[in-house]
């Protein structure tokens, strides 16, 4: 059935792919976008609302005539020892509350919100975790803390005044437009650091092609409209469903980018040695921080980042399989190639 979608954050990395996934359905739906800026290359077939998520009137105005809302907006997650806590909470929590209130005021029935696989992370290994895992007493960082609050608010609003809601929890998103994962790996390569591998590569990691995450959002919106579906009020893990050894993903990216590093030339740093290096790097950071404004500093290798790279992190996605009918449409290899092609063409 055709919908009138509003994609909040539709100019962002994930948001743009949501637009594409809606178009791919070719079901006569209309698309509107709400974002803080309008890009120069905004497509003509999309109605664009520029506004602030935290302002009720801005959101309310954009929701005129809308039947389904997909909310993907979130501030960029910066790796900093001095995170912008207020910014995270005002957008992720207050902004989302605003969206919910505006949806209710407009009598809108479907709201899908992007969450994060990290909301159940304790910082320890995550092995095949499903959605029954509770939120940890202490979130791994401030950003994730705000995402947990956001998810709680969204799921609590399900069933209120005819609104149905659900959330999508992706993990390690990559794809065309990605500014973190694949560019980060290419940066390692440019520095010539791709020769070093930390640990024995036995931990598994889920990666998720952005188009698949976008597809899951659109499926979720569809299921919210179906009274027989159990999707309402639920959170869904969404990944490619193919966890692989962490360094394999990086090796493939480097190979496809033209920087093949044969196994025989790799230098494997044992966990212990890496922690020592990280300790030194952290110390240097702390010394620098005494003289320079912290927000200007980029964190190098830290012990927590090593632990993240060394621990398995993969999810059970059978709930999304079963209730949303979700299955990854673009595999890891194709996804990596699409990402690199997009980087090259820019």
């Amino acid at each position: 059935m055709p919908e009138k979608y509003l994609v909040i954050g539709g100019n962002g990395f994930l948001g743009r792919h949501v637009l594409e996934q809606i178009r791919l359905r070719k079901d006569g739906s209309s698309i509107a976008v709400f974002d803080i800026v309008k890009p120069a290359d905004a497509p003509a077939d999309i109605k664009f609302f520029v506004g602030d998520l935290r302002k009720f009137d801005d959101v309310f105005a954009a929701l005129d005539g809308i039947t389904a809302v997909i909310h993907t907006a979130s501030p960029p997650h910066v790796n900093s020892s001095n995170p912008p806590r207020d910014l995270y909470f005002s957008i992720n929590v207050d902004g989302t509350k605003n969206v919910i209130a505006a949806c209710k005021a407009r009598g809108i029935k479907k709201l899908v919100v992007t969450s994060s696989g990290s909301v159940i992370s304790t910082g320890e290994a995550m092995v095949n975790v499903d959605e029954s895992t509770p939120y940890p007493p202490q979130a791994i960082d401030v950003y994730t803390e705000s995402k947990i609050e956001c998810e709680k608010v969204v799921l609590a609003a399900n069933g209120e005044e005819g609104l149905t809601t659900c959330t999508i929890r992706p993990s390690a998103i990559f794809g065309p437009g990605d500014r973190q994962l694949i560019p980060g790996m290419l940066e390692v390569c440019q520095k010539g650091q791709h020769r070093f591998q930390i640990g024995d590569n036995s931990s598994l990691m889920d990666f998720t092609y952005v188009g698949n995450v976008a597809y899951a959002h659109v499926l979720a919106a569809e299921k919210l409209g179906d009274v027989k579906s159990e999707a309402a009020g639920q959170a869904f893990n969404v990944t490619n469903g193919t966890p692989i050894p962490f360094w394999d993903f990086a090796s493939k990216v480097w190979f496809e980018a033209g920087d093949y590093m044969p196994n025989s030339k790799k230098i494997v740093l044992p966990y212990g040695a890496s922690v020592v290096i990280a300790y030194i790097s952290e110390t240097i950071y702390n010394i620098k921080a005494m003289f320079v404004d912290k927000s200007q500093l980029k964190e190098g290798l830290s012990r927590s980042r090593i632990k993240q790279a060394m621990s398995s992190r993969y999810f059970n996605i059978s709930k999304a399989n079963r209730i949303l009918g979700y299955e990854a449409r673009v595999g890891l290899e194709e996804g990596i190639k699409l990402s690199l092609a997009a980087i090259k063409s820019n």
Binding site: N128, D200, L204, P243, I244, P245, D248, F255, Y260, Y314
Partner: protein
């Protein structure tokens, strides 16, 4: 013995396994069996046949509990007889098919034997004296005879279809479906038969015989691994079992994979073959987990851990194209001795899956698919066998010190002996 020990010199756990195996072997079912058959000349002949026709299976079969040992020994000999007919390229095709299709009746004919095999057929002596096997077969309880006859019937007809069909087994296997079907006939069916025998003996639950796919996978995993390992040997004998659907993606010339200039293609073909085998791992572990009898567990687990070790060894290993690659004897003994419980078996699988993963090469076209298969196997284990150990448990300190002393003493003795 010395060369075997020297091959394992950098691997203390293998050395200690070898020495323990050689000098401290516990009283076993084998010895018990030797006593049981001492006064039964015909039975002794059957176990002699078993020893001669199978190096790898003879010991594990003799280690089985009394209820099953003879039945499985005869099952093996009957299938070996069938195989000896199928294998013989000197036999007339019509005659061969007639024998293959009627072999399930032949095993009930007292006095039947067969002298038409070519002189070079390695197990021809078995068929020359096959009346001995038939007599012993007819001594088995009917429930076992029925299972053996049923599998012989299916396998004989399958082999005849292959020998006379479009894709002559000894020339080429076209599709992955053909490949699976061939492996089903020669190995998956053995899995079916064994499960039926386990269930009939009462040593295992009847449900073990119900899930045919699991039994099939047990055979497929072994057979496919052997087919990869035996590339060169089969090629030299004029056979090829690797399906064209797999290698044809990379080359038109199957035999040309041995050429050094084709090493890259050869690597891709090999990884595509290994990828095909990896998918059977969940079934294999599911099957092993459901077993209850210790002797049946050992019997089933030992070949499977050998197969995963072999698979890790052949993966990304160009030697496969030049010679028969085999795991070290010390490794084999260590694996055999560890294959006594599910925790150890899972740990061994995990270790070798990891070994395989470390050999995965980013330049290989199957790199990500192998990576995904590795992840899938590991994810399957964490989902279905949670709390499984990641590595084999280490022996306690005191016993390993003792064994290491024994190892050093034996090594010294052997080396001194060698230079006397």
């Amino acid at each position: 013995m010395l060369d075997v020990l020297l091959a394992s010199i950098g691997h203390p756990s293998e050395l200690s396994a070898l020495i323990t195996y050689k000098f401290f072997k516990p009283e076993s079912n084998i010895n018990r069996n030797q006593k049981l058959i001492a006064n039964n000349e015909r039975k002794k002949r059957c176990y002699d046949f078993l020893d001669k026709t199978s190096r790898s299976f003879s010991a594990v079969i003799q280690e089985l509990d009394d209820e099953l040992r003879d039945a499985i020994c005869l099952f093996y000999l009957v299938l070996r007889g069938l195989d000896t007919i199928e294998d013989d390229m000197t036999l007339d095709l019509d005659r061969k098919c007639e024998l293959l299709r009627s072999f399930d009746k032949i095993i009930f004919q007292r006095g039947w034997n067969f002298k038409e095999n070519g002189p070079n057929e390695k197990d021809r002596h078995l068929l020359v004296d096959f009346q001995i096997v038939i007599e012993e077969f007819l001594e088995l309880p009917k429930k076992f005879q029925d299972v053996i006859a049923d599998i012989t019937n299916q396998m004989g007809n399958g082999m005849a279809d292959y020998a006379s069909g479009d894709h002559r087994e000894n020339t080429a296997v076209a599709t992955i479906k053909d490949f699976d079907l061939y492996c089903h006939y020669v190995a998956g069916l053995v899995g079916w038969g064994l499960s039926d025998l386990f269930a009939a003996s009462g040593l295992e639950d009847p449900s073990i015989a119900k899930d045919k796919r699991l039994s099939d996978s047990m055979g497929m995993f072994l057979q496919k691994t052997n087919i990869i390992r035996d590339y060169r040997e089969d090629l030299d004998d004029g056979r090829q079992f690797w399906p064209k659907e797999i290698w044809g993606k990379y080359t038109d010339d199957f035999a040309g994979l041995v050429k050094p200039e084709n090493a890259k293609t050869a690597q891709a073909v090999l990884s595509a073959m290994v990828l095909n085998v990896l998918e059977h791992i969940p079934d294999v572990l599911t099957y092993l987990k459901s077993l209850k009898n210790q002797s049946v567990f050992n019997f089933c687990a030992i070949p499977q851990v050998m197969a995963i070790a072999t698979l890790a060894l052949v993966f990304n290993n160009q030697d496969v194209y030049h010679r028969n690659v085999k795991i070290r004897k010390g490794t084999a003994v260590k694996l055999i001795m560890a294959s006594t419980n599910m925790d150890n078996v899972v740990a061994i699988f995990r270790e070798y899956i990891h070994v395989l993963s470390t050999k995965n090469d980013a330049a290989d076209p199957n790199f990500i698919n192998i990576s995904i298969a590795v992840g899938k196997a590991e994810q399957w284990i964490t989902t279905n066998l949670p709390d499984s150990p990641r590595t084999l448990a280490k022996r306690s300190d005191s016993s390993s010190t003792f064994i290491m002393l024994a190892v050093l003493a034996s090594l010294a003795a052997i080396i001194l002996n060698a230079y006397k």
